[in-house]
Amino acid sequence: MERALEPSLLAQSRERGWSLGIAFLAMVVLFAILPFVVYPVFLMKALCFALFACAFNLLIGYVGLASFGHALFFGWASYVTAYTAKAWGWPPELAVVGGIAIAALLGFVAGGLAIRRQGIYFAMITLALAQMMYFFALQAKFTGGEDGIQGVPRGRLLGVFDLSHEMTMYIFVLVVFLAGFLFIYRIINSPFGEVLKAIRENELRTISLGYKTERYKLVAFVLSATLAGLAGSMNSLVFQLASLTDVHWTMSGDVLLMTLLGGLGTVFGPVVGAFIVIAMQNYLAQFGQWVLVIQGVIFVVCVLLFRRGVVGEIARLVRVQL
């Protein structure tokens, strides 16, 4: 209601909806064509990581909470999905739900602990908790230690769609990604999302307006963890593998890099960032440790010269919101 009274704001929001809608349609069309041009497994991986980065962006971009431990949710969801699908023979949809559930639970515990401290401490706590769960994964029997869980069956989705078909699997991953993407978009444009942005801008003022910011932060954290878990579960189905790589801190670093490179707090930034980083890791894999160096250089360049990220810079140039 208040918005209707402010003509400049109204114009802005109308313009925003327009540019975002076009961009979304373009993205859907692109993802419909790409599997005929590019290797589908690569696309599926990139889509999983795009969802992961979007989930991460919900927290860092819209609440201003920098988690350094999101591999925890991605990796543990991936383990649970892989284990339930392989050892207990759960169908894929149920295995994914199992993965999401564990990610939500871990998100509740880790988030509840981490939001007790702010700023820089928040990042260190999430990193430490993720490292703790990394060691659990290393020692626990069911994770298969260094070998991971291999040969995970993709199964039949809802008993109908055979996911061992590459194209069927691709469509499944794409639908899940789009659903997750729209869900996150819905969250950040809801009244709840407005409070999250208020916390990002000025937490003390938000508290003085009567909001229990801790609860908002916790809910946002759990949502972000859950969606990160969804990404991890899908990833383990795509590769039919869950391994220590998924829970290692380098994974938390990767998702951070994707989001930063694409643009913190932009809607499409994490997707673009994920595709760039995954493509880079793919094509530069032959150069061994140089990938690490290049990723580090991107971090440094982004922070010093390029804090809006790729999508943020484009959006600024053409003066729309993306």
Binding site: A66, F68, L113, A114, R116, R117, Q118, G119, I120, Y121, A123, M124, I125, L127, A128, L129, Q131, M132, F135, F136, L138, Q139, W249, G253, L256, L260, G288, Q289, W290, V291, L292, V293, Q295, G296, V297, I298, F299, V300, C302, V303, L304, R307
Partner: protein
């Protein structure tokens, strides 16, 4: 030989000693982090990589120039500290007005660059670096065997920690530092070159990490990834202690090393995770950390 709680004394004191050694490194590293954080308001993610650089500096000085351990104890921290000064001048000084998050991201990126380059050059396997002749061997204390080098590490680390504490809390230079932490504009108005002090503080914190690296070289193998796992544990130590107090950082570091050592004796499966569990408990009971002020 006697037994305590059914554990042979040799094993118990041996692990206790190892715990104190680890604690020495936790203390030195968290001290460096606290000093840097106090002045620059940045969590130095590169700290682990700089610790590794210290160990490598010692190794390379010996291999290429025949510079021995004793000289390396001084030269390596100076060299690595100088790279720290360079990093502060080139990168960190531009972040002063930004959200501290960017400092974390930038130093994280630097850590990746450094670790990647060292892995490229020297691979992932550990390189041996032997303890100096004078500190080889050990003595039998009756209840345990104490290797000389380990006793030296604990003693030196304690001495360096206490000297740092003294320099910051009890000297004129330290009072400038503390004043600049509270109100840099005012201290600058008194004619003190605060930016230079910030640069040197960063260099000093980095040098502390490098010193820890030199001391660690004969105990652990010198390898490019020796710092990255350690730094995460040190972050947990810092969260537990809180970065408000220098003495607190030192005490927490040693205490957690000992606790970790004892866990290795009584419940080895948890020895990797005990510090993180303690962190979680401290967050529940005292969110500001044991020695912290505010959140």
């Amino acid at each position: 030989m006697f037994e305590i709680f059914g554990i042979p004394s040799q094993a118990l004191f041996g692990q206790l000693l190892l715990g104190l050694i680890n604690g020495s490194f936790y203390a030195l590293l968290s001290l460096g982090l606290a000093v840097i954080f106090g002045m620059l308001n940045i969590i130095n993610f590169t700290h682990g990589a700089q610790y590794m650089m210290g160990a490598f500096a010692a190794y390379l000085l010996l291999q290429n120039f025949g510079i021995n351990y004793w000289a390396a104890l001084v030269v390596a921290p100076l060299l690595v500290g100088a790279t720290g000064v360079l990093i502060e001048r080139l990168f960190l000084q531009h972040l002063r007005k930004l959200d501290p998050l960017y400092g974390l991201l930038l130093t994280f990126g630097l850590a990746l660059i450094i670790e990647g380059m060292f892995r490229n050059q020297w691979g992932s396997s550990g390189l041996p670096y032997s303890a100096p002749e004078a500190l080889k061997g050990g003595r039998n204390l009756g209840f345990m065997f104490l290797p000389n080098y380990r006793a030296w590490v604990i003693g030196l680390s304690l001495a360096v920690c206490l000297a740092t504490w003294f320099a910051i809390e009890r000297t004129r230079l330290g009072s400038y530092l503390r004043a600049a932490t509270e109100n840099p504009v005012l201290v600058r108005a008194f004619g003190i070159n605060v930016p230079r002090m910030v640069t040197l503080t960063y260099g000093f914190g980095v040098a502390l990490a490098a010193l820890a690296g030199v001391m660690a070289a004969p105990i652990y193998n010198v390898s490019p990834q020796m710092g990255s796992d350690l730094i995460i544990v040190v972050f947990a130590v810092v969260v537990i202690g809180g970065m408000g107090s220098i003495l607190g950082a030192i005490l927490t570091g040693f205490a957690l090393g000992v606790i970790e050592g004892l866990t290795k004796v009584f419940y080895p499966e948890a020895s990797n995770t005990v510090i993180f569990v303690i962190m979680a408990i401290v967050l529940l009971i005292r969110p500001a950390g044991l020695f912290g002020r505010g959140v």
